[in-house]
Each structure stands twice: as structure tokens, then as C-alpha cells.
């Protein structure tokens, strides 16, 4: 074997899961198990006010009455909710003024990820609220945002510093009774981001958070709340990577968005949790509830997601179009390979007059994976002149994977205009051969076709995110053909 060939094989071997490593940080964690006492302890550790503790307890009591949903098109062994530790945080929880004060091991993690905070801060003009496990350890660009009256902080901080806003909006889109996983999250949520953009303010930079599960066997329960007041605009980026791990890890986040009159929220996600190995062992269970309320007239919420990771993804970013003329959008690329399973889609609930929604979903299945689109378009009685356009495409690579589409329509107003298009295509051997014949390798050929297929969705992402997403797609599909 030639040296270049050897090098290449080594490279490929090392590329298995690029972000699979564990950082050693001293951590403070609660014992496994879930009961009222644990919830009080979580709340106490976070120095929360009484009303928050009570809210968590209400959620927990309700959760005890609920059953895990079984309707999705995914399969996994039963989860023992008593075998999970619900709180873990780096031991000391200092407030940093500069990066130099941050634990070197944590900074090392960011360096390995190729997202050194310094660079993020200086080059991209991105304010990074880095969530390391459950506690925010670095928040930047705060001063600049402060000038504009924009609040961008951890949820824990918001609970202490902005209780009125939190009380007013937390649970107002996803109530604590909403669904099994959202209710669990309401009881035990660890941390997350809080954003408030005041009236008439256009947030001048992309707000971004990097999430990362670090402590072994610790489910992560993020809670994010974004409120855009009248006439405000904000674009929020969420990106995640997670270390290699053998046990399945539960991730049940809740994201709530509120857009008031004439406000716009753009929420972009690149999700790359550990998908499990080639045999389907390990990997993250990603059971997320994301929902946005277009409360005001002319408001707009746009979800864009690129989902390449997780063993199981169960996720339906949705829009409740209450305000007249409000707009909901959902752009999604979901990739599954090997034994990954994804059941994802959206719900567009039209309530106001002249509300409009657009759904563009692009599923890609390879290996023995299963990829389902599940979407609901609901036009309520009062929603005069509502319009929806849905485009749900599936791309298959190989013969052992599956793609499924479950579009649900509930139309209760005869003025509604609803259009649904769906296609299923397969990357054909003749297409690959055609590209080979033009000097393009099979791997590049697949990337070329896949990038063409998803470009409509990637175009919705901020530039630097789109580049990262494209790389993730090609890594996720490596070795899927030939």
C-alpha cells in the first residue's frame, strides 16, 4: 500500500466521529433519580426563587400522570427515568469577565471543536453564550447588546435578573402540561438561553449558542425562550456537537419563541449530536419541543434546521399563527445514516386572518436508517384567506433505508389555499456513473447531488453556518455509496 493510501485510510478512520472526545472537568452532579426532593435540589443549586421551584414541581406532578408517547415512527428500548442524573455543572460557577478566566479544560474543548471563542467573537461578530453542560460559562458581547436594551443571557440568570419577563412568557407557548418530554423538561430543565429584544430594535448580530453534552449519563434539558417585542428582529443560531459515548443519552429540550406585532424571529439549528456507531450502538435521543407563537399582527417566525446527528430525532418546530397576516416558515434538512431514526416535521396552526406558512422539508436517508416527515397544517375556522405551501422531498441513498411522509391537513375554513408537493428520489447509479465519467469521485458525486438537493434550505442559513452545515452533511454521508 502506498503511503498516501495509508494516510487516507488513517484519515478516514480518525474521522469516524470528529467531535467524539470527553473533556475532564470537575463537576458537581446530583445522584441519579427523579423525585420532588431532586427537583427542589436542582432549584436550590440554581438559587432560584420560590415561584420557579413551584412551577417545576407542578410540572413534575403533572408528568407523573403522563405516559411516554408511542405514536412516532421511531423505536428504542425503554428509558429508565430513575437511572439518569438530572443535574451536572462544572464545579465552580464563576462569572468571567474575560476568556482567560475560563477553565482551561473547557477552552480546550472549544479549541478541539474548532470554534475558539476568541475567533468567534472577533471574526464572526457573533455573541456566544456558551452552554457547557448545564451551566453557562462564558457570555460575550453583552455590553454591546445592553446598549440596545437586548437581553441575551442564560435562563438561570434571566430567572434571577428578569423575573417579570420570564414569568410572563415561560410556558406561554409550550405549557408545562404540553407533552411528556416538554413536561419533564419543565420539571428539571438545567439551563439554556434567554433573549429579549425590545420594541423597535433590530438585533445587529446573530446570537449563537453552542451546546454540548459532556458529563457521562447526564441527560441535558435545555430551556430556551426568545421574545421579540413589537417591531423587533432577531436571528438566533443553535449548533451542537457531542462527545462519543456508549450509553444512550436523553436530550429533551424546549424552545419557545414569541413574536409580537411586526416582529421577526429567525431560528437556525445545526444539530450534530453523536448518532451512535455504525452498528447503531449509542447515540443521543433527541426529543425536542420547539414552538413559536406569532402573537402579533404581521409577525414572522422562521425555523431552519439541519439535522445530521442523534440516534433518534423527534422534533417538530412549529408556528402558531395568531396575529393577522403573520407568517410561519419551516425549512429542514434531516439526514439519517446507518441505524439513525428521525421523525421530524412541523405544525403550522393558522388562527389569524391572511396568515401564511411555508414548509420545505428535505429528508435524506442512507444506510439502514429511517427518516419520517410528519407535518400538520391546521386552518382554524376564523383563519380567513390562510395560505400554506408544503414541499416534502425524500432522497434515498441505497436500498436498505426508509423514507416516510405523514402530512396531516385539518381545514376548517373554505377560503384556505393549501398546496402540497412531495417527491421521492434516489441517487441512481447512472447519475453517479455520469459524474464519475466527468472525473468526479463517487464521494464527491454524492456530495454534489446532496448539496444540490438541499441548497434551498441551506440558503436560509447565515453564511458561515451554511458552510459548516455543508461539511456536516458530507461527513454524515461518508461511505454511504459504493
Amino acid at each position: 500500500m502506498s503511503t498516501t493510501e495509508t494516510q487516507r485510510i488513517e484519515e478516514l478512520a480518525n474521522r469516524e466521529y470528529k467531535y467524539g472526545f470527553v473533556t475532564e472537568v470537575e463537576e458537581d452532579r446530583l445522584p441519579k433519580g427523579l423525585n420532588e426532593d431532586i427537583i427542589r435540589q436542582i432549584s436550590a443549586k440554581k438559587e432560584e426563587p420560590e415561584w420557579m421551584t413551584e412551577w417545576r414541581l407542578k410540572a413534575f406532578r403533572h408528568w407523573l400522570t403522563m405516559e411516554e408517547p408511542k405514536w412516532s415512527n421511531v423505536k428504542y428500548p425503554p428509558i429508565d427515568y430513575q437511572d439518569i442524573s438530572y443535574y451536572s455543572a462544572p464545579k465552580k460557577k464563576p462569572k468571567y469577565n474575560s476568556l482567560d478566566e475560563v477553565d482551561p479544560a473547557i477552552r480546550e474543548t472549544y479549541n478541539k471543536l474548532g470554534i475558539p471563542l476568541e475567533e468567534q467573537m472577533m471574526l464572526a461578530g457573533v455573541a456566544v453564550d456558551a452552554v457547557f453542560d448545564s451551566v453557562s460559562v462564558a457570555t460575550t458581547f453583552k455590553d454591546k447588546l445592553k446598549e440596545l436594551g437586548i437581553i441575551f443571557c442564560s435562563m438561570s440568570e434571566a430567572i434571577k435578573e428578569h423575573p417579570d419577563l420570564v414569568k410572563k412568557y415561560l410556558g406561554s407557548v409550550v405549557p408545562y402540561t404540553d407533552n411528556f418530554f416538554a413536561t419533564l423538561n419543565s420539571a428539571v430543565f438545567s439551563d439554556g438561553s434567554f433573549v429579549y429584544v425590545p420594541k423597535g430594535v433590530r438585533c445587529p448580530m446573530e446570537l449563537s449558542t453552542y451546546f454540548r453534552i459532556n458529563a457521562s449519563e447526564t441527560g441535558q434539558f435545555e430551556r430556551t425562550l426568545i421574545v421579540a417585542d413589537e417591531g423587533a428582529y432577531v436571528s438566533y443560531l443553535e449548533g451542537c456537537t457531542a462527545p462519543m459515548r456508549d450509553e444512550n443519552q436523553l436530550h429533551a429540550a424546549v424552545v419557545e419563541l414569541v413574536a409580537l406585532d411586526n416582529a421577526t424571529i429567525k431560528y437556525s439549528t445545526v444539530q450534530n449530536w453523536y448518532p451512535g456507531d455504525k452498528e447503531g450502538k449509542g447515540g443521543i435521543y433527541n426529543f425536542v419541543t420547539k414552538r413559536g407563537a406569532c402573537r402579533g399582527v404581521n409577525s414572522k417566525i422562521s425555523w431552519t434546521q439541519v439535522e445530521t446527528g442523534s440516534a433518534i430525532t423527534w422534533k417538530y418546530p412549529s408556528c402558531i399563527l395568531q396575529g393577522d397576516n403573520s407568517i410561519g416558515e419551516f425549512y429542514s434538512v434531516a439526514v439519517t445514516n446507518n441505524y439513525q431514526q428521525a421523525d421530524t416535521g412541523t405544525k403550522m396552526i393558522h388562527i389569524g386572518k391572511n396568515t401564511k406558512s411555508t414548509i420545505v422539508s428535505k429528508g435524506i436517508s442512507a444506510g439502514r436508517s429511517n427518516n419520517s416527515y410528519r407535518g400538520l397544517v391546521k386552518i382554524t375556522k376564523k383563519a380567513e384567506n390562510a395560505r400554506n405551501f408544503s414541499q416534502c422531498d425524500s432522497l434515498l441513498i441505497g436500498n436498505k433505508c426508509g423514507a416516510h411522509t405523514f402530512p396531516y391537513l385539518e381545514i376548517n375554513n373554505s377560503t384556505a389555499q393549501v398546496e402540497h408537493e412531495a417527491t421521492t428520489s434516489k441517487i441512481g447509479e447512472d447519475q453517479i456513473f455520469y459524474l464519475n465519467q466527468r472525473g468526479i469521485s463517487t464521494e464527491d458525486a454524492v456530495n454534489l447531488i446532496v448539496n444540490g438537493y438541499v441548497k434551498e434550505v441551506l440558503a436560509e442559513l447565515p453564511m458561515e453556518f451554511a458552510v459548516e452545515a455543508q461539511k456536516l452533511l458530507s461527513i454524515s454521508l461518508e461511505g454511504s455509496v459504493g
Partner: protein, 254 residues
């Protein structure tokens, strides 16, 4: 010798299609391969391009001093082998420009040349699209998607012009072209002829050969070359029909 095919046997799904092909092609030459439908013309083209479904059971192919059969399809392309497909496939979402940019740069990389920058590349596309009178709007359209039969063929020759191959195999490029398009495409091909490259024109009508005048004509029948000659052989075939060949199988020349 640019290309030398020796006693080539190939089969697909257990059926032997090529039954001992011998052919020599030198740089600067244009060879026409004619023959009735089903005689194995496209099979030969596919085997040259490296399509895996076809199993070579016997024989050798030497190309530019290399054993062609040992090269992957993409490496053959990078070595200068180009196939204009009889049925060009549609690739939704991939623009012509994007395909060609990737192709040109992969080929350049293979040859140890610098990648073209965006400006140089667009310049190249513009120049070559004129050669086959291809409207610029085709550049940004998905490869062959929604193209008419003739547009697909024209697009193949456009790609050939951009990639500048040493050995081009044109498989029934004339089919689906009206007379004007045929003239344009043939003109394009003629401009690409040089003493450094060779072209194999596969067709079952002699019409195209009025425009692309071959140095040699070979008749393929039932997986064998049963007759070879100069350009006048094409006319003779036209006049007498393929039955003439079928009845004269003994006259095999190499």
C-alpha cells in the same frame, strides 16, 4: 498509439455482448463505429468508460501507455477519456456550471495543476458555449433536467469542449438532433479535432459522417467488428443497408 483494444470480450448479466473486438486508434484520428441497433456499440463505449455492470472476460485495453481496465471510471476521465452519452442522465439540483467546475478542478488536481479561479472558469465556459452555440441560460440550469433530446446532446458536446479530452467517444450524438442542430454540433466537434486527440464517433446513420468526416469506418455486428475501411465504407453501407454486412460476415478485417 493512443488506444489499442485487443480481443475484447465483455458481458452483462451473463450475456456475452462483445465477442473479440480489436481496434487501434492513433492521436489525430477520427474513427466511426457503425452498426445496427443492438450490435454492442454502446456496450463498447461503456466498457471504455469503465461502467462496472459490464464484466470484461477477456482481452486488453491500452490507453496512452496505461492499462485502462485497471483505472477507475473517474481516473479514466482524468486521464482524458470522455464519453458523450447516448442517453445523458438528468441530475436535478446540480447546475451545469457546478458540475463542470467540480469536474475541471478534479481533473486539474489529478494532473497536478492549479485549480481555476472563478473568473478564469467562467471565461472558459463562455468561450466553449459559443463553440456549440449553447445559450448561457443552460449553464445555470440543472444538468439535463427538462432539456430536450437535442439540448442534451448539445450539452454533452459542450462538456466535451470544456473538459478537452484526449479520447472522446460520442455515442449516437446525432440522434434527436434536427439538421440545423446537427450541423452546429458537428461544427463544434470539428473545431475540437486536433493532432493531439482522437474521436470515436458511434452512429448507425451515415448522416453525421457528412459533417464529421472520419478517417476510418468500422462496422460492428453482433459484438464483432466485421468490416473496416475508409470514409467511403459509410456511403457503401448507406446504399446497401446493414443486410449487406450481415451476409458478408466472412470479410472481417482488423
Amino acid at each position: 498509439m493512443l488506444l489499442e483494444i485487443k480481443n475484447l470480450h465483455a458481458r452483462i448479466e451473463g450475456n456475452e455482448i462483445l465477442k473479440g473486438i480489436n481496434l487501434k486508434v492513433d492521436a489525430g484520428e477520427v474513427h466511426a463505429i457503425m452498426g445496427p441497433n443492438g450490435s454492442g456499440k454502446s456496450t463498447l463505449a461503456s466498457v471504455l468508460a469503465g461502467r462496472e455492470e459490464y464484466e470484461v472476460t477477456e482481452g486488453e485495453i491500452w490507453y496512452n501507455g496505461k492499462n485502462l481496465l485497471e483505472l477507475s471510471p473517474e481516473d479514466r476521465a482524468r486521464e482524458g477519456v470522455f464519453l458523450a452519452f447516448q442517453y445523458p442522465v438528468e441530475i436535478p439540483g446540480v447546475s451545469n456550471t457546478n458540475l463542470l467546475k467540480t469536474a475541471v478542478n478534479e481533473i486539474r488536481k489529478y494532473r497536478g495543476e492549479e485549480e481555476l479561479d472563478a473568473m478564469e472558469f467562467l471565461e472558459l465556459l463562455k468561450e466553449k458555449s459559443k463553440l456549440v452555440e449553447l445559450d448561457q441560460k443552460f449553464l445555470s440550469r440543472s444538468v439535463n433536467e427538462g432539456f430536450s433530446g437535442g439540448e442534451k446532446k448539445r450539452n454533452e458536446i459542450f462538456q466535451m469542449a470544456v473538459l478537452n479530452p484526449k479520447l472522446a467517444i460520442l455515442d449516437e450524438t446525432d440522434s434527436g438532433l434536427d439538421i440545423d442542430a446537427l450541423r452546429i454540433v458537428a461544427n463544434g466537434v470539428n473545431k475540437l479535432r486536433s493532432k493531439d486527440n482522437a474521436i470515436i464517433v458511434v452512429t448507425h446513420y451515415q448522416r453525421l459522417l457528412n459533417y464529421i468526416v472520419p478517417d476510418y469506418v468500422h462496422v460492428l455486428y453482433q459484438g464483432k467488428i466485421v468490416k473496416s475501411g475508409g470514409k467511403e465504407l459509410a456511403l457503401e453501407l448507406e446504399e446497401k443497408g446493414y443486410d449487406w454486412v450481415k451476409n458478408n460476415k466472412a470479410e472481417v478485417t482488423v
